[in-house]
């Protein structure tokens, strides 16, 4: 069961900011970086998944760590400001860890 309030919370004014501000030129990024060993797996969460994550952690989106829209991987996977990204990354202590980040337009 997804709390509709949570979903509404995710409707952020972030995308508007991008429209509201002059856009910077986008560099073309080589797709092969996604396959590089040191680049962890990024995935955009669906609205429902994102609401679940936020509910579980009891945080508002802006309390998550941020990731820039200009991050090469983010622009490759086509995430938009306000999206929540799940990152699966190797960890020296825990083997594999999952972290979440919110995409921000700066």
């Amino acid at each position: 069961m997804v709390n509709t309030n949570k979903v509404q919370l995710l409707q952020l004014p972030l995308a508007e900011v991008v429209e509201g501000l002059p856009s910077k030129s986008v560099k073309k990024i080589d797709k092969r970086i996604l396959k590089h060993e040191l680049v962890p797996e990024h995935r955009v969460l669906t609205l429902e998944e994102a609401a679940e994550v936020l509910g579980r952690l009891r945080v508002k989106p802006w309390q998550l760590p941020h990731i820039s829209i200009n991050d090469p991987v983010i622009s490759l996977i086509g995430a938009k400001p306000g999206d929540i990204i799940e990152i699966k990354r190797k960890s020296p202590t825990a083997g594999e860890t999952i972290t979440y980040r919110v995409v921000v337009p700066y």
Partner: protein, 885 residues
């Protein structure tokens, strides 16, 4: 303002800072200062001067003319100076500049079309709370957009570029030429701005109207903020702030007279600018491009900003760091006989530091005893608080102890001396980690130093070459219990830094442990008794290892008496190296430690078994598996017996300990010749250009590298010759092998040769022209001429060698001095950044706003303090346990 009960606790929700408005300044002002002099000729304060009585009562017995209170009650009152002409507050210069640039010079509207401005404001409002960083970016963008406009979208007026010269001058670039905007012009423009437009520029117009940044009236703080002091000579010295304010009044009055007497415009302008400078200096006397206010042309005045700034400023010196009561500091010295949880406190200190004792039916007799002893006889008391009268009685002056003791009631509080068994906090600076402050149990002792057990030196990084330490007394039951449960030394045997014991043996403890457990040591009944009695052992002796001709015990048997009965441990000893190397239990050299079911069967105890800061050793295992109490017992018993062994045997060094036979010396000499020849050949090859360079290096570098390599090998070989010719039970050699003190390098340097001296990792090259010392020819590349020392400490060095050694030694000193200051500052910044992060109950790491820093502490949620050197579980240990080995 509503008057709240002063004692009522309340929660601060938030603090909002804004600019003080002239209206507000006027409202709180009780006096207008118009005269720069402070006292009349008869010594009374000038009315309308900077010591006007309306600033508040400060003399004893004086009544405040404003609030009617005496100096204890009067909070002090502000005054004001009405500035003849407005003045810019220099710290707002930048903000004012941005507003001037972004708003119309005629109508004051923001230089962004209505529609777009409304849209942006709406966006800004939605972003502000949740995405503050974004909102800031938005404002920066708005400023950029607005300041690039050339025409006002509202009134159509042409806009000109504004030039800002720090800290408070503005020029407008008009087509007919650049003109200066004086503060009145600036203030007028700021007054015209609209509230909504200001919000778009990131300013809260309710709390901070921009025109308030150009002040027309200056608040003058009360006297309690700038107290004057009376010197012994009877002269009065005023506070720096008062001097600065007097200068402001002086310049202000001068400007006033110029204006009223219709002086030429240039003179007025000049006086106005002077006033601007003086006001700026009053706020911050270290602004660039400003005339500093000074004390008779010498020392700069300490004005407002200087009071707050820096290490000794109000913030870092008085708010983040405070001086405290109930603390003591003195030199530390060692006492191997007290427990690791204890600290020896000098009697003199115990009679000054006190703990409040609330009188109950159960302790009233004890409390009476303290009172009868008085403040000078330990254990006594210094003060008594009577509940009924609420009075505090000082036992130094109230001498009738008998009557006081008799009239003692339940609920009274007796300030009693520090006694044995009290818990105190003990600290050594620099406080780099949490083990730098630990809880100790007091033991009152004679003499004047704090005594501490040698085993707690490593966490404090303390030694006894003059170190001093601080002691603090917790005075509430809550604090005492907290100290006992969380801070007690035994709770810090394991460190969270790397998952291992930080408390443990060093130096003599290690030599002693080795000499106790080494195979050659056998102890008679008498000796065993002496060793065990030091440890406080009570109980029977095991069956002796040898029965005839005398009953004798091995050290390992004695160690076993103290180990937990089901302890199993295996591991290599420190001496397990070189010729004594072995990898498993099949070890002839006694260098593999085996403890089976609490019986120490083989292997000597040395640094790897009982050393401080050595993870995965015997002490670590016991602390982890059996808890801190068991580990503490071991440290307080067995470890003391190590010292006893040394006391019986003695451990010392003599010149003869570093003597090596003449044959070995010959061998080293021959070796040196051999290497010298080889290096000479290399140099010759280099000179002829035939030397094979190392890839990526120049010819010179290659030669240097090769020479250094060769000489390194030479020293190692000479060292091993020396070591191989040494008696294994030579005391110095024992210390080096067991890891108690020194290493093979030190022995080599004493017995064989010092080897190559380096500065910045290179052979020594600097000094005279093309040579290091006048003893050598120019361009001499031979080892001797470039800092190679073939002498040793035993036989002595040649003059040139002494010089090279000093050069190398100096570098080490400089390095440590530089390194400590740099890493100290780095640590400070790191702590400031991390100090309020918290591991919350769901395992996440968050800051005080609830922002997530880490989704699980350390990504695995493991407390490193209870790990096996960082690993949560030690599989080998578990397998061994399951297999019953």
């Amino acid at each position: 303002m509503r008057r709240v009960n002063e004692n009522e606790p309340y929660m601060l929700h938030k603090i909002k800072f804004g600019v003080l408005s002239p209206h507000e300044i006027m409202k709180m002002s009780r006096v207008t200062v118009v005269r720069p002099d402070i006292y009349e000729s008869d010594g009374t304060p000038v009315t309308g001067g900077l010591r006007d009585p309306h600033f508040g009562a400060i003399e004893p017995g004086e009544r405040c003319p404003v609030c009617g209170n005496t100096r204890e009650e009067c909070p002090g009152h502000f005054g004001k100076i009405d500035l003849a002409r407005p003045v810019i507050v220099p710290h707002y210069g930048e903000t004012i500049y941005h507003i001037l640039q972004s708003t119309c010079r005629v109508c004051g509207r923001i230089l962004i079309p209505q529609k777009r401005a409304e849209y942006l404001l709406n966006l800004y409002d939605r972003l502000r709370d949740k995405w503050p960083r974004l909102a800031e970016n938005l404002i920066a963008e708005v400023k950029k957009e607005a300041s690039s406009a050339t025409e006002c979208p509202y009134c159509g007026a042409r806009q000109f570029k504004i030039r800002f010269v720090k800290p408070f001058t503005y020029y407008e670039d008009k087509p007919e030429g650049e003109t200066r905007l004086n503060p009145i012009d600036v203030r007028e423009r700021l007054e015209r701005t609209l509230d909504d437009d200001l919000r778009l520029l990131g300013i809260d117009p309710v709390k901070s109207r921009p025109e308030w940044m150009v002040i027309t009236v200056l608040p003058v703080p009360p006297l309690s903020v700038r107290p004057s002091i009376t010197l012994e000579t009877g002269f009065r010295a005023e506070d720096d702030l008062t001097h600065a304010l007097a200068e402001i009044v002086r310049q202000n009055e001068r400007l006033k007279t110029f204006i009223t007497s219709n002086a030429p415009e240039t003179m007025i302008e000049d006086a106005w600018l002077t006033l601007q400078h003086v006001v700026s200096a009053y706020i911050d006397n270290e602004l660039p491009n400003i005339y500093q206010l000074t004390h008779r042309r010498k020392r700069p005045l300490k004005t407002l900003a200087q009071r707050l700034k820096g290490k000794e400023g109000r913030l870092r010196g008085n708010l983040s760091g405070k001086r405290v009561n109930f603390s003591a500091r003195t030199v530390i010295s060692p006492d191997p006989l007290i427990g690791i949880n204890e600290v020896g406190v000098p009697m003199e200190i115990a009679k000054i530091l006190t703990v409040p004792l609330r009188v109950t039916p159960y302790n009233i007799e004890e409390a009476r005893k303290y009172i009868l002893n008085g403040p000078d006889k330990w254990p006594g008391a210094t003060y008594v608080y009577k509940v009924r009268s609420g009075k505090k009685i000082d036992l130094r002056y109230f001498r009738n102890y008998k009557q006081l003791a008799e009239s003692l009631e339940i609920g009274d509080i007796v300030e009693r001396h520090l006694i044995d068994g009290d818990i105190v906090l003990f600290n050594r600076q620099p406080s780099l980690h949490r083990m730098s402050i630990m809880g100790h149990i007091v033991r009152v002792m004679p003499y004047k130093t704090f005594r501490l057990n040698l085993l707690v030196c490593p966490p404090y990084n303390a030694d006894f070459d003059g170190d001093e330490m601080n002691l603090h007394v917790p005075r509430s039951y809550e604090a005492m219990v907290e100290a006992k449960e969380l801070l007690l030394v035994q709770k810090h045997i394991l460190t969270p830094r790397y998952g291992g014991p930080i408390i443990g043996g060093r130096q003599d403890y290690i030599s002693g442990a080795y000499l106790l457990t080494v195979k050659t040591s056998l102890f008679t009944e008498d000796e065993v008794a002496r060793i065990l009695s030091r440890a406080g052992y009570e109980g029977g002796l095991p069956e002796p290892a040898i029965i005839k001709p005398r009953r004798m015990w091995t050290g390992k048997q004695l160690v076993s008496l103290f180990l937990p009965k089901d302890l199993n441990f295996k591991g290599k000893a420190k001496i397990n190296a070189g010729t004594l190397k072995c990898d498993d239990e099949d070890c002839f050299h006694d260098s593999y430690i085996v403890v089976d079911n609490g019986k120490h069967l083989m292997g000597v105890l040395d640094k790897n078994a009982i050393g401080a800061e050595k993870p995965e050793n015997l002490l670590h295992l016991i602390a982890l598996e059996y808890g801190d109490e068991e580990a503490r017992k071991l440290l307080d018993t067995l470890f003391k017996s190590f010292i006893r062994v040394l006391e019986m045997r003695g451990l010392t060094m003599a010149l003869s300990d570093v003597d090596i036979p003449e044959s070995a010396k010959d061998e080293i000499r021959k070796l040196t010749e051999e290497y010298k020849k080889r290096i000479e050949d290399m140099i010759k090859e280099y000179r002829e250009g035939k030397l094979e360079p190392i890839p990526g290096r120049t010819l010179e570098e290659s030669l240097e590298l090769k020479i250094i390599q060769e000489l390194q090998k030479l020293r190692e070989e000479a060292g091993s010759i020396a070591v191989n010719n040494m008696d294994p039970f030579n005391d110095i050699f024992i210390m080096a092998r067991t890891g108690a003190r020194g290493g093979e390098v030190n022995i080599t340097q004493m017995a064989a040769m010092l080897g190559q001296q380096t500065v910045r990792g290179r052979r020594i090259t600097r000094g005279f022209r093309k040579r290091t010392l006048p003893h050598f020819r120019e361009g001499d590349l031979s080892p001797e001429a470039r800092g190679f020392v073939k002498g040793n400490f035993r036989d002595g060095l040649r003059p040139t060698e002494v010089f090279f050694h000093a050069a190398g030694g100096r570098e080490g000193l400089v390095d440590t001095a530089v390194k400590t200051s740099q890493s100290g500052y780095m640590q400070r910044r790191l702590i400031n950044a991390l100090q309020d992060l918290v591991v919350s109950y769901d395992g996440t790491v968050r800051d005080t706003w609830g922002n997530i820093i880490q989704f699980k502490y350390g990504e695995d949620g493991v407390d490193p303090m209870v790990t096996h050197h960082g690993k949560p579980v030690n599989i080998d240990l578990i397998i061994d346990k399951v297999r019953g080995k």
